[in-house]
């Protein structure tokens, strides 16, 4: 069997295992490309540990096909370390139980976003011996070196700036766990996912998004920190290119299109100092695009921001307000129109036009059928779009998630944090209607207003000057 995760001895000291989390089999025979993406928290923290002489072995639930396999890979260790996110919480919970069964004296160290947003759920798991809430980069070394000197719940400390982070040693990430996947994966870079040529470099240039969308709201938990300097980002890319050959980038920032000074510097330096102007995927908001349309256009055209991820979420002002998105229907349409014009111009010049990777949400409590039709109409109106449609999920940690859980409306449970777009997540939502909507049953209603929207938006230069 092709198993790259057979644990090795980690020297004379305690045997420590870092367990990468995800659905079973995702690194063997994944359902899609995104399941193969690597965990930057794991990458950063393991790099710090290894630079400080605290080696850890690595296993991944994604590389196992059964829980029996997980049982085998975690056995014989003194310490288990896991970075837990909301969607990996059930896997972490089960892995910790198994770890304690096979290593009754072993210690389980956890941290990560779920510890930060849902500490009560983490504290309720007796198998989690230590739980680090908040960013862990300034405490991980001391914690792993001497866990007994810490209380059960530890308040993490982050760096002031991402400039203080070391470059992630990507070889500390798990490898693909089947021959078939290894051929496509190009480890330690990442596989192509349809947004740009492989090998793909996923990276972070900024950490916190300052907005307060009530389904997300990460700013409530992670203190603001300085953005990674432009030159550091480019140097890392050039290094990875020399070593492995880069095909394209996925800039994982929650919000790339913020902080115009940084973006201006990126615009000036990336096309000149990078080994190659690699195309990339990165996120923006419709209101910031409307605020700085010229900067947006220059970035798309000159830095090959080929896939613009926008969380439009909804095409209805009512729903955008429920979500506290602070964007309006007009912001969304402005951004769509601007991208259409940029794309058309680039196409006329014989260049590849940019596309939207567009997050769309349906099934939001309070959304009417008309709101949902407006959203689907906006999707139909958009010329070059890769829609990513999901049903709203009340994650703990988000403001609306907390409120809906308190009202007893959430259908999510700790055994099964839903992470699939079509799972039912909130009581009282007519999911049958939404499934039929997505299957095209209401296309007539969706299309009905489309001609009028097109008519109204013909004079879009007017909208540009208004912004």
């Amino acid at each position: 069997m092709f198993n790259l995760f057979r644990p090795k001895k980690s020297g004379d000291g305690p045997r420590r295992l870092w367990l990468d989390l995800g659905d079973l089999g995702d690194l063997v025979n994944p359902a899609g490309p995104h399941e193969q993406w690597q965990d930057h928290g794991l990458g950063l923290l393991r790099t710090l540990l290894h630079q400080n002489g605290l080696t850890t072995d690595l296993a991944s639930t994604r590389a196992c096909k059964s829980w029996d396999e997980v049982r085998k890979v975690v056995s014989g260790y003194d310490m288990l370390i896991m970075n837990v996110r909301s969607y990996t919480f059930p896997v972490a919970y089960r892995s910790a139980k198994i770890f304690k069964e096979v290593n009754p004296k072993g210690l389980v160290l956890t941290g990560g976003m779920h510890a930060t947003v849902a500490i009560d759920e983490m504290m309720a798991i007796p198998e989690f011996d230590k739980i680090c809430q908040g960013p862990g980069e300034e405490v991980i070394v001391d914690l792993v070196r001497d866990p007994d000197s810490f209380p059960r719940m530890i308040l993490g400390r982050g760096s002031k700036s991402m400039a203080d982070w070391p470059m992630i040693d990507r070889t500390l990430w798990p490898k693909p766990a089947s021959r078939q996947l290894a051929r496509k994966f190009k480890w330690p870079l990442e596989p192509e996912c349809g947004w740009g040529p492989g090998p793909v470099v996923t990276l972070l240039t900024s950490r916190v998004c300052p907005w307060q969308c009530v389904f997300c709201n990460e700013n409530s938990y992670i203190p603001n920190m300085g953005r990674r300097p432009v030159e550091m980002v480019i140097d890392e890319l050039n290094y990875l290119d020399r070593k492995y050959g880069v095909g394209s980038l996925v800039i994982h920032d929650s919000m790339f299109f913020q902080n115009p000074t940084w973006l201006q510097e990126w615009l000036e330096k990336y096309p000149r100092q990078a080994n190659k102007v690699w195309p990339y995927w990165a996120a923006a908001r419709a209101d910031t695009v409307r605020q700085w349309p010229e900067l947006f256009e220059a970035l798309v055209k000159e830095t090959r921001w080929d896939t613009v991820s926008i969380g439009f979420e909804s095409g209805s002002d009512r729903v955008l307000k429920i979500l506290n998105k602070e964007c309006t229907e007009e912001d969304n349409y402005f951004t769509i129109d601007l991208m259409t014009r940029i794309g058309d111009e680039m196409e006329r010049e014989g260049r590849k036009p940019p596309v939207f990777w567009s997050n769309i949400m349906l099934g939001i409590p309070g959304e009417t059928r008309d709101d949902a039709f407006k959203t689907m109409r906006m999707v139909k109106y958009t010329k070059r779009i890769m829609p990513s449609i999901a049903f709203y999920a009340p994650y703990p940690g988000s403001a609306l998630g907390h409120q809906l859980i308190a009202e007893g409306r959430s259908l999510m449970s700790k055994e099964n944090y839903h992470r699939y777009p079509d799972d039912e997540k909130v009581k009282g939502i007519d999911y049958k209607f939404y499934r039929e909507l997505l299957a095209g049953k209401f296309d007539a209603e969706v299309s009905k207003g489309l001609a009028q929207v097109r008519q109204e938006r013909q004079n879009y230069m007017g909208a540009l000057t208004k912004a």
Partner: protein, 59 residues
């Protein structure tokens, strides 16, 4: 963000430009009987960073 007192002793988290705006946004998703539970002139304003301190009071 605002935390409104409710007649049942719990708190409701709402958000908007003003308390009135926040209540209107809340009314988009809650039926009138549930809106009735909210004491409209008893609220405090909170920053999103303080949200976690109040989660256990929500209802």
């Amino acid at each position: 963000m605002y935390l409104f007192d409710m007649k049942n002793g719990k708190k409701k988290l709402v958000y908007g430009q003003s308390p009135e705006d926040a209540l209107e946004i809340l009314s988009y998703r809650l039926p009138p009987e549930e809106m009735e539970q909210i004491i409209k002139d008893k609220y405090i304003k909170i920053h999103q960073r303080q949200l976690q301190e109040h989660v256990h009071l929500l209802g």
